[in-house]
Structure formats: C-alpha cells, structure tokens
Symmetry: C2
Subunit: 345 residues, 2 copies
C-alpha cells in the first residue's frame, strides 16, 4: 500500500505546528488522506481516509473505532461541537479525556457508499496503519474498539502488533457468531427485496429495524413497549413499531445502501487467528449481548492464553451497552489504561 | 355462536358407530363442521372447522394444538399415514397414545388463508368449544397446547373452564412478549415489502427465515453453521443461508400469505387474565426460548397462585424444543396426565 498524497489544506491542520504558542493550538482537526489500498478480495483501490483527531499534539494517541455506523467524530469538542457517536465516553473527566490523550478516529472505508466490493476487516486494519503513517504516529497507546471496531482492532493488533501497546475489544471478537451472521444475511435480503422494485429505502429501513432487535434485549423491550397492540385500518400494530419506524428512517437518512451492505458483509468475513495476537488485550463482553455471545468472548480470552483478560458487563442494553453503560465502560477503560503506578502513560 | 350444519358425509365418519364389531372400528376420522362464529374484532363469520380425531371411541379426549403452522393431523395412524406435526409425541408407547386417548386437533381458523380479518385467540378458543359441541364431547381430559396452541389453550381454559380437566401450556403464556411482538411485526413488514410488487412469495419466505431465528438458538446455529462464508458473484453468502432458503421455500409452498399475516397478528393480540384460569395448569418453559422468556412463564405460574406448576426444559432448540425434545416432553406429559394412583384417567 502506498500513500498517494496527504490531506487537502482547507481541512487538514498539520500536527507539526507546535513551537508557535502565540497561535491557539488546535485541539481538534479533521483531514483526508488519499491512499491506494490493496484489498483482500478486491485488488488495489484508491480511497480517501477521512479522520478526526482531538487532543494535545504531544499526547499519546488512542484510536477509537465503533460499530459499522460509527464515524470519525467521536465526541464534541471546541472545534467540532456536534455530539459524537461516543460522546459520553471521550470527554473531559473521562478516561478517554481529550486533554490527556489524542483521540483519533476515521470513517470506515466503504462508509461513503462508493466502494461496492467485498470489504474485509483486514482492509480496515491496513487502512488504519496507512493513516498512522500519514499522520506520523509510530505507535498507538491503545486501540479501543467496540462492535465492528473491536473486530478491526483485533485485526490491527494481529497484523500491525508493533504499532499498538494495548487493545480493548468490546462486544466484538475474533469471528462473527454463525447465528449473528444468519441474522445479518437476512437483513441484507431485506435490502435486496426492497431493491427489486426501487423501494431501497424501505428495504434498508426494515434491515435496520431487524438489526435493532439484535442490538437490544427483550428486557428493555419488555419495559418500554408493554402496552397491548392497536388495530389500525384492520391491521395489528404493536407497541414497539413507532420506535422501530424512527430507528429505521433515521438510519436510512444517513446511510447509503451500499455502505450498509458492504460493511454488514465485512462483519461476516471477519476472522482473526488469536495465535497472531501478541498485544495485551482486554475483552469486554456484555452478558445479554445477542450478537456476540459471552461464550465467544470467553473462548477468545482462553485462546489468548495469558495475553488477554475478560471483563463482563451486565446490562439491559445488550450489544449497545458500550454506548449506554458509559460509567461502567469508563471504569474498565480507566483500570486498563492506567499504568502500574496508577497514572496514565 | 351457532352450529350451522355438520360435517359433509364423504370425509366425516360418525363416532357413534360402536355396536357393530363386524366392521373394523375406525381409529381415526376427519370431518368438517360449519359454524357461524361471532369473532372478537370482526363480527360473525361463517367458517369451516376441519378436525381430525384419532383413538378409541370410548377413550377420554385430549385436544392437541400447535404453532400457527400446525394443523389437524397430529400424528400418523392406520387411516392417515403421513407424518403429523407432532408425530413423535402422539404415537403408541407415548403418553399421548392414540390407543389410550382420543387425540383431537383442528386447523386453526384463518389457516386456509381466506379469513382476512383480525383473529384473536378468543376466536380460536370459542371455535374449539363449538367443535366439541358438534362432536358431543362435554369435557376434555386435557388440552395440550404448544406455542400458539398454548395461548389458545389458556384462552379456552379461561372462557370454557368447565370443559377441560387439565391444561398443559408449553412455550406459550398469557401474553406475547413485547420483544417477540416486535420481531413478528417486522416479519409482517417483510411480507408487506414483498407485496409491493407481487413478490409475495419472496416476502413470506424472508418473514419465515426471520421467524426461524426466533424459533431456534445461537447454540444450535453455532454447531451447525460454523464454516466461513463464501463470496459468490461478489456477494457474501453465510453458512446458514442454504438452510434458511429451504426453510423459507418449504413454508411458502404450504402457507397462504393471508394465513401467515392473520395468525401472526393473532399471537400479538393474545391476552388472558390469569385470574380467570381455574383449570389446573402445567406451564412448560424452555430456558433458551427466544420468543417466550422463562421470566414470563414464571410470572404466569406466580399469578396462577397454586393452580399452576412450572416445568423447565433445557434444550439447544429454544422455542422449537417441544417438537425436538420429545422424550423430555413426553415424560412431563406422563407425570401430569397420570392420576394419583399412577394410572391414566
């Protein structure tokens, strides 16, 4: 893989401006790196890697990666003030404090919806490595990955282990579970059914609604949607359907169909051999996760044979707990990222 | 509700032929009863109740009711030799032995696909009562219901409690769980998406495939479909997809779209007040059931306050365990249907 050219000037503020303290030092910057990336199943593709980095220029770097609908904007800052996808986990006062670490994230390749080929987590991991080259970051203090991001983090640690000191993999392991793969395959079929007659949005919305059931739990639904159904125009409408409608249309508004299909597939293509992992790894599992069963997280930690540890979170939010149980997750991140003297590196 | 007329001669062999032992006594008979049934949400409808009864004419009657795709043919016999939907549970040597009991079952109203109105479990329960009238059966020895059949059994016990001595409700309780309702609502949306352009079969197939995930468990999928996906024509195809294709097309071949939609809705309309249940009830719950959580079965038994008992089955088959763990289910039925002296009534 080779670096084609660096970020375009308007967006890209170089890190190397550190001597001149008369100018307020930017705390966050966004940029775009053009690369020619050899992909596992699809040959070499010219791609843009769109990143955001928040934090002091001399701070250690933590790469943060989320689910397939996450992106480079992790949390609100002085420069980019809108809420990020993990806003409550990467703010001042938390372990992932942008005053203490540089928080780096990117848009997954394929997320823009233009890359209509099979995408592997290997490709995402290699893209992260190329991005670090471009940003002149030899080594990450940590890679914190959640869901798909955990898979990418494991792949990155397996392929570029010298470039990261610590891996935290939450709600994502070395392989997709066959039941979860079947669930995603059917979501992709819902999209295909919609595409049959140009009802793409309807198909994607339905796919997202089915996905929501896998992200959440019966416990939560039991509490939130306990009213009896209504009969409207002769049809039964259940209590959760309003919520699912909103979830579907919000997703459709921000997600290209191709991005969903290719990133969904990418989860199912994911495989990492735990023997290839030498980076100290903390696996965070949620007991009620319907996509990543606890047994698979235990299996991964067993295979890591001393190089990994397991933290189990109990939550009514299942796969989504990482974004919901932020106090608990923060306290795990705190214990992992602190060094032996109780201070952060 | 009123009886319109009785079964048509060609199919209907009357029970009352018992004196003439020179003719071999029929062990099984099928019939059809025409009724005008006042329905909960849809006014009075003329319906045919299609039943099958297997067993000696003087034996006590056990009504057996299954999931929404079950029907009147419970098990193979001398007269109707094809396998039934609960073939391994209602055969010679089992508790539900057609030599010992008359096994009665019917096709759910709406199963023929012509009744395109909201159907409630109240309607099914009342249809059972009308059928018993027509067959001159004052009281059932037991009602054994599984899944939707358990809901219908609970409704029957609540509304016609004097007509049944014992209820066994497996994998179905007094209400649908809100999470399961959401899951079914999305299956109905898959059908609606297919119907947009006459891809009805594709929509129904996809709905069934999603339903299969709710009937089975991650444990089973983990064991059966553990191979990596393939890339076929540039698309990822997961290991379980062949199985799901077969499940979908088998279902489409035997199920009218309207029957699926209306019976699926019927599960979500179901509500029974446990205070109305006076019949001694055994609730069978499967620990891994993803549609009927164990906690709901426990709740029902609590509300039955001494009139009900709980049996929990561990199984990798989840909601489908009733049809898969036949030894275990048979042994529960045996202990329930035996009287205090250890003999069957």
């Amino acid at each position: 893989m080779s670096l084609v050219n660096n970020a375009s000037p308007p967006e890209h503020v170089p890190v190397s401006v550190k001597a001149d303290f008369s100018i307020p030092r930017p705390q966050a910057r966004r940029g775009e790196v053009r690369v020619a990336l050899p992909m596992r199943y699809a040959g070499v593709h010219d791609l843009s890697l769109r990143y955001e980095m928040q934090g002091p220029a001399d701070a250690p770097v933590v790469f943060v990666a989320g689910g397939i609908s996450a992106h480079r904007h992790v949390s609100a800052g002085t420069e980019f003030t809108e809420r990020g996808w993990a806003n409550d986990l990467a703010v001042s006062g938390r372990t992932l404090d942008p005053e203490r670490f540089r928080i780096l994230a990117f848009d997954y390749i394929g997320a823009e919806g233009l890359l209509d080929v099979p995408i592997d987590t290997v490709d995402q991991a290699d893209a992260v490595a190329v991005l670090l080259d471009a940003l002149d970051i030899p080594r990450l203090r940590a890679f914190v990955g959640y869901s798909y991001g955990a898979m990418v983090g494991l792949q990155f640690a397996a392929r570029h282990g010298m470039r990261v000191s610590r891996l935290i993999a939450a709600s994502g392991v070395h392989r997709p579970h066959p039941y979860a793969s079947a669930w995603r395959a059917l979501q992709r079929r819902a999209v295909a059914l919609g595409q049959l007659q140009c009802a793409d949005a309807q198909g994607l919305g339905l796919a997202r609604q089915f996905a929501m059931l896998s992200y959440r739990t019966p416990e939560e639904f039991g509490e939130r949607f306990d009213s009896p159904p209504e009969i409207i125009n002769g049809r039964v409408r259940c209590a959760a359907e309003d919520y699912l409608d909103v979830a579907g249309s919000q997703y459709v508004a921000r997600t290209p169909v191709t991005a969903f299909l290719r990133l969904s597939e990418s989860i199912d293509l994911h495989r990492v051999n735990p023997d290839d992992l030498r980076v100290p790894t903390t696996v965070i599992a949620v007991e009620s996760d319907r996509l990543v069963p606890l047994s698979d997280s235990v299996l991964l930690v067993e295979k890591l044979a001393g190089r990994g540890g397991l933290r189990v979170v109990r939550s009514a939010y299942g796969h989504d707990a990482f974004l919901k149980e932020t106090d608990r997750i923060d306290s795990i991140l705190n214990s992992v990222l602190r060094d032996n003297d109780g201070v952060f590196a």
